[in-house]
Symmetry: C2
Subunit: 360 residues, 2 copies
């Protein structure tokens, strides 16, 4: 047997131990080494050889090159994830749930942020395509964005939507039941007797906010003499600053609401800030209902009444949906809808409470 001379590795040069080195050491052909190391193919190779190759691999510290394997296989074992906003604590749990199920199957998540901008979403999606991810999940889609995914489906890359759907797009989708969530919030306010209400909506071209709004309207319908003092729509990212801005604008109006429904908890924090700035107290002067139940909302001042969404669970479901599509791309684009739940805390009170307690 011709022993290949050990390469005189230059001092300081990296030691790229490749499959070839393993094969040489184990005295087998590189293809045999490849199969011995692949659990799916190891059955074809004799037990003795497998053992020898494994030993050689661990002896010289072989780490497979996933990019080479990815090139050859046409699968990179990675999925692209695009969220709207890293800063929203809601997304943390979602990503955790998602990446837990992905990594259990040897996949890895490549995460990016769209900041609610169509051009950024497009750029991110392009990048994912170039990187040849095996699938894409988006929780950042706006209503007109379906076309941005076209290049992906042309390449047969499964696309799964989370949180925000794209009606009639045919993508597999995992949503919260936002209609129900909004409805719970609306009914709660109706039961408390609120008649002058403001909704602080997220961007109008986002499915989930639309459904929250529709649900809220349904839930509060029936309240006598209902006055809607919603003034404006979210211009950009529905974050603390935007919640504050919208609330300040609302308070500048002639008629002050007795209750506001913020489309997410971080906007609700902005609402609270605006109220504080205006010398108003919650819930005495104005009740506020948030949405999402992010971990800290139970300790806001006051603790926030909000709609709880199972975000980590949604992340997991997204992962499972995704994995199934990677396995079998022909699976239908079904829609999964997770339950929402109202959590009543101390930021809501009966309408008119301020009048009754004003002198107290």
């Amino acid at each position: 047997m011709a022993q290949p001379p050990p390469k005189p590795s230059q001092p300081g040069a990296r030691a790229p131990v490749s499959l070839r080195d393993v094969a040489d050491l184990a005295q087998v052909h590189i293809s045999t080494a490849s199969r011995a190391l692949d659990p799916a193919q190891a059955g074809r190779i004799s037990a003795a050889t497998v053992k020898r190759v494994r030993a050689a691999a661990s002896k010289i510290g072989y780490t497979p090159d996933l990019v080479a394997a990815g090139l050859k296989r046409g699968r990179t074992q990675s999925v692209g994830v695009v969220v709207a906003d890293f800063d929203n604590p809601y997304n943390g749990l979602l990503i955790r749930g998602l990446s837990r199920v992905l990594e259990a199957q040897g996949f890895v998540a490549v995460v990016a942020e769209s900041a609610e901008q169509r051009t950024r979403l497009a750029a991110v999606l392009d990048h994912f395509t170039a990187r040849r991810v095996d699938a894409v999940v988006s929780t950042a889609a706006h209503l007109g964005d379906a076309d941005l995914f076209a290049p992906l489906i042309a390449r047969q890359i499964p696309v799964v939507l989370g949180v925000r759907g794209l009606p009639a797009s045919g993508f597999a989708t995992v949503l919260h039941d936002d209609f129900r969530g909004g409805e719970l919030a609306g009914a709660h306010l109706r039961e408390l007797g609120h008649t002058v209400v403001a909704r602080l909506r997220g961007p109008v071209d986002i499915d989930s906010f639309i459904r929250r709004d529709a649900g809220f309207n349904a839930g509060i319908a029936g309240a006598e003499q209902l006055v809607d003092v919603t003034i404006d729509d979210c211009a950009s990212i529905p974050d603390i600053a935007e919640g504050r801005r919208l609330m300040e604008a609302t308070l500048a109006q002639r008629q002050r609401p007795t209750a506001v429904f913020a489309h997410n908890d971080v906007m609700a924090v902005g609402v609270l800030q605006a109220m504080e700035g205006a010398g108003l107290r919650c819930p005495r002067d104005i009740s506020v209902v948030g949405y999402n139940d992010v971990p800290l909302s139970s300790h806001l001042s006051p603790p926030l009444t909000t709609v709880r969404l199972p975000s980590e669970l949604l992340g997991r479901r997204l992962g499972e949906t995704l994995l199934a599509r990677i396995e079998d791309p022909s699976l239908p684009g079904e829609e999964l809808r997770l339950p929402a739940e109202l959590v009543i805390r101390r930021s809501t009170a009966r309408a008119g409470a301020a009048r009754r307690t004003r002198s107290g």
Copy 2:
């Protein structure tokens, strides 16, 4: 010229348009096409040819295959990022800052979570190696974890540490000035006259918490008759639940503290929960100081006195440090330290306030 017959693409088969197709359409050699599309090499090619190739590429919708390019170039244009806890809102801003500077240079972040477990960190790092990331940033290191990075440095993969350092490891590091931060918190409590204090520390084997603690001790030193009722150390992830557990244990002791310093804001929320459960009010009965100034902490009940850290900035600095190391791996492992700042809100008050207001 021999025109290669157009491939009879099967209906339903994907249309993998490759560089070869672009070259054929533009009537140039594939290598010429490659250079024409590479901004760094386009100078070598005549303007007319570049234009022709570009036109051909966009006409047939060519998207470069980054995994193939990565294999050949030995650079994947990706960096691995490992954080301790997706659920901690602190990390969101950090990741945002980091990925903004990375993506400006065409890099992408691959993010994973260690959940404070050494084995998970090891697994994540292995995965990064296999994926041939160009660099790794960790904000999840525990003190004994330096060895986990050895395989990376053996492969000349730059490692940058953020938030949590590894003393004497020689890695480039971007930290908050946690000693100073802790000191500010300690001095604040001293000035308010607190003498019975509890510290709710993060895991004892994490650099940043050690420095916070040392700083706190220095800051509060000089307080008369100082009694330390710190009872326990964080067993796992320093999150809300752990903060609550530690505070409950603290309250079960004989001597009750008049102030507590929680090593991060989310633990402080747990502290507040425990106090509420025990019928104690903040700051009347016990003052609490948090750490991090996560976006929501200004609206906790009560608004939290805390130490503000520029997390997004730290993320950006991490990115810059990283990029510089990718460019020139021989750069020294210098340490950057970002300033901390005390934000006094309403969760802290003079010691003894409870006695004075008890009947009020």
